[in-house]
Symmetry: C2
Subunit: 407 residues, 2 copies
């Protein structure tokens, strides 16, 4: 933000903002006109609701995830695992992540994350004094063998009781675009079940599906809720903000007892509950079909923008820079040769800024983990907010900055 203000001509390939041109202005106006037409339908939008969430929205959300999972043909989508009374509606999925951390994590606890992972979650861990362990990310999800090795080591060090949670961003991951295959989710749950006795408490899998609905290529993948061992062990979160409108802060999460009761109590202390106005808007958007129509438009739009970005990458980036075609989400992860630093204090970052283009240095997406050195030669490029023209220009500028590097 600060950089963007100081460099007005800056093209940001860094921001996690979504596409402006497709924001559902007309649809939202129409939904409010309808909802607020009469007092009887309008009053509930303007009054307090309960802390857990609008029952209609909880039910619709639970049913939606169930049907998405069932359609994949993977795992077993058991209805009871999606019970609306395990649902919590939050001000964005970010708030759900925060509540889970507040509910479950004490200073000195350990959380396993992907290497790299969603950097704002790392901010939450840091603020709670929680240690991280990073697990290498492969093209189909985390390296399960390395997870096994880390768990074995924690057990040997008698620190397994401090482990509470494995956090995975499983669909079109922020920052790499990676989707975790179902087999790996199942394997993670098997491992967690295996080590639970030594830990002395449940080991939870927190599955962050924030980008699941932004898939524009390939088949969907079943959530960990459908896996054997998923019952009572999986916390699943998603959001309506990114697929509909980020100004409408409505996220959701499923979580088992006793976590949910504790999280609801904390949510009550935060804000009593998510804004009724926002919840009714989303419930009506889902019910009327406006949401699904919008998501389809958005998927097509992001597919086009991803294509624009990757075409530009092929044209302007040196050939020894690695990246993969995205199949959804908003991000492409580019990997420079190892000796090539990309961090905030690197010459490359400064040269890119001189050329008025901004990326997220990959380093920021690695949890501080005393057991390994964090890579510093990667970058996250977003095709979410920039226009197609800006994507082309931005990548050309980035290519110029890279061309000046000594390889």
């Amino acid at each position: 933000m600060e950089l963007a203000l100081r460099h007005p001509d800056l093209i940001s390939l860094a921001a996690g903002f979504t596409d402006n041109e497709t924001l559902p202005v007309d649809e939202t106006r129409g939904l409010f006109a309808e909802l607020l037409k009469a007092r009887c339908t309008g009053e509930p939008l303007l009054q307090y609701g309960n802390t857990t969430g609008l029952p209609a929205l909880c039910a619709r959300t639970a049913a939606r995830i169930l049907s998405q999972d069932a359609a994949t043909g993977e795992g077993i989508a058991v209805e009871s695992r999606y019970a609306p009374d395990q649902m919590l509606i939050t001000h964005g999925s970010q708030q759900f992540l925060y509540l889970v951390a507040e509910t479950l994590l004490d200073p000195g606890d350990i959380v396993v994350v992907e290497d790299p992972t969603y950097f704002v979650f790392l901010g939450i861990l840091q603020s709670r004094g929680v240690e991280g362990r990073g697990i290498r990310l492969e093209p189909d999800g985390l390296d399960v063998e390395q997870l096994d090795a880390v768990l074995t080591r924690l057990r040997r060090e008698r620190r397994l009781h401090r482990l509470k949670l494995v956090y995975l961003v499983t669909y079109h991951q922020n920052p790499t675009g990676t989707t975790t295959c179902f087999a790996k989710k199942a394997a993670v749950l098997d491992l967690l079940r295996h080590y639970e006795r030594a830990a002395g408490h449940p080991l939870y899998l927190l599955e962050d599906a924030a980008y699941r609905e932004l898939r524009f290529q390939g088949p969907d993948t079943a959530s960990a809720l459908t896996a054997s061992g998923g019952l009572g062990r999986v916390l699943y979160t998603g959001t309506y903000s990114k697929p509909f409108a980020t100004g409408v802060r409505v996220g959701f999460g499923l979580l088992p007892e006793p976590l949910r009761t504790a999280a609801v109590r904390i949510k009550g202390n935060h804000d009593f509950g998510t804004s009724s106005l926002l919840q009714h808007l989303m419930a009506r958007a889902l019910e009327s079909g406006a949401y699904d129509r919008h998501v389809q438009r958005l998927q097509a739009r992001y597919a086009r923008k991803a294509e624009g970005l990757t075409t530009a990458l092929r044209r302007h980036l040196p050939p020894h820079i690695e990246w993969r075609e995205p199949t959804g989400g908003m991000y492409v992860w580019a990997r420079l040769p190892k000796r090539q630093r990309s961090g905030l204090n690197s010459p490359l970052f400064r040269r890119a800024l001189d050329r008025r283009v901004l990326y997220v240095p990959g380093r920021l997406c690695y949890v501080p983990d005393p057991t390994r050195r964090a890579p510093d030669h990667e970058m996250r490029l977003s095709f979410g907010n920039a226009t197609e023209r800006e994507l082309r220009t931005g990548v050309r500028r980035l290519g110029e900055a890279l061309a000046q590097e000594a390889w």
Copy 2:
């Protein structure tokens, strides 16, 4: 909530919900129709904003408090104390209170509150492992001499360094309806300044003005921001939710550095920032005059409902029950004779429930404080949500329950 569901015919004089019949359904529809008419005005509602708050809303809110304070003729309303860059917009003032607690309070810290006080704030303190000290509330605000004595005692016990905050609900207080006079705010700040050296850090006054705009009788009172010693020591919070619509979660607070920077970082971890949609709605409501018109209507409405409640109290309650005429807000505090218990497990509470009327037991509004015994013979009655008819019926039922007491 749970009780209300099990007793459908229940009249709740307990809920902090606001009046349904005056919820601004038409106004909100009109504001959205206007804001979402064109893409250029609509897009900002649907996109992420910054974490601190919509600049236009920050500026308007700061100016509003300044002009309210200046109009009182009390204290000195210095513009710099209301700088928009000290403002933080939150999902209700509740979130502001939570962020302040997270920013400032560690387990084992001490917070001074009024006896009685806003009970959800007590929930926050409890969840953070913070100790409370209750200060007797007089008709014009807390007993300043007792505050002095408590501070002296903390200093003598060498515990003053654990004190961080004095929390006062200064306008039409929840739960008693008490408004703190300006002289007492100034006296509290004098005391805090006096004891600061012994504490070794700033002692803050957190002024909760949630009900300030719901005044329907008597003059306004200047905030503590205008008092000598207020600079850098006062945190002031208010809300647009209660005066406009509780389904629209928009509150605000002013806080000095370094607290604000820390609170903004935590808010970023919570939810990135308050929903743009809600903030633009409120900014436009303020700008267009719709908000002020609504507040005037609401004040008149609450004045009438307060009158309805107190008329019923005079008719149906035994004469030895004490209460005061409210001048704003939504609550009347009733005090039974001391031997008469009113708590959740008391015969009176159960008899009231049998007669299908609910009140908030006064006991819940007292902080657990090892240095005094919490009274258990009071009740909070709300005229916010119940209709005038329900108020009459509810008080009649309460009178019947009270008539069965052995006095």
